[in-house]
Symmetry: C2
DNA sequence: TTGACATGAAACCTTTTTGTATCATATTAA
DNA sequence: TTAATATGATACAAAAAGGTTTCATGTCAA
């Protein structure tokens, strides 16, 4: 049976998360988030953890900020970088869109239904 | 007070997720995942939802497969693309690393502690 | 067998990403 | 005020990403 073109969008996804997903794609940035999860840090302090130039780290921080994953608060000549949980949560929420797949109870339920359907078919075709 | 260089890694993150995070960074690929969350599809069926060449969609599917977000099963001349929840779950798990930040109960608890600390300080400085 | 169909893969182009080096600016402390 | 510090910003280069076009291969159906 040939499937007709499916036109409906499955479920409206939050489009807001693009910047966050983009930011999360880089391992250095994920690492920065883990560090900031422990404590707020100046750019210099973040830099101390990485073997790359200050400018490179700064760029990563900028991308994290664009993704709303961190906020930056000036204090004197320093900039305090702080983890922003909200954006992280919206990414988590997007993923939870799929958690029916890894919810064991539901998975078992689905398997049961599938098995039942299969049984019915077998019975009918006898 | 000048902070000394912090040398310890905050918490050992699962390094496995890089391919998955990379794959999730692109909106087309996230959209594909949503479609595959509804039903398995051949490449052609996936293509029908996007305004780009088959080759482009194929590349996206390859990257999704590299990130273990989907699996591909050949059937005759077709390839059935199926969502693989495991990799999605590992990404979700990585994010849950932060969920102490958005767990309301914990947040309130933290606020309470901070408030208490502040109160103590105020009292002392009187 | 043969033609249509579903896919695979390579070559190529443009834009983005990720890093560098360098210079400018603002703030602090002596 | 002046030198050191913390950061901002720009120009540049190499690599990766995201597309396209084109051609090859394997499978189905008549």
């Amino acid at each position: 049976m040939k499937q007709p073109t499916i036109q409906s969008t499955p479920t409206p996804p939050p489009v807001v998360v693009q910047g966050a997903f983009r930011a999360l794609a880089d391992p250095t940035r994920r690492s920065i988030l883990l560090f900031l999860g422990e404590q707020d840090m100046t750019i210099g302090e973040v830099c101390a953890h990485f073997d790359m130039t200050r400018a490179a780290v700064k760029k990563h921080l900028t991308i994290l900020e664009e993704g709303a994953l961190i906020s930056v608060q000036p204090r004197g000549r320093e900039r305090i970088n702080r983890l922003e949980p909200a954006a992280l949560k919206s990414v988590a929420d997007w993923l939870n869109h799929f958690n029916r797949f890894w919810d064991e109870r539901l998975a078992q339920l689905q398997h049961a239904v599938v098995a039942e359907e299969a049984a019915k078919k077998t019975k009918r075709s006898k």
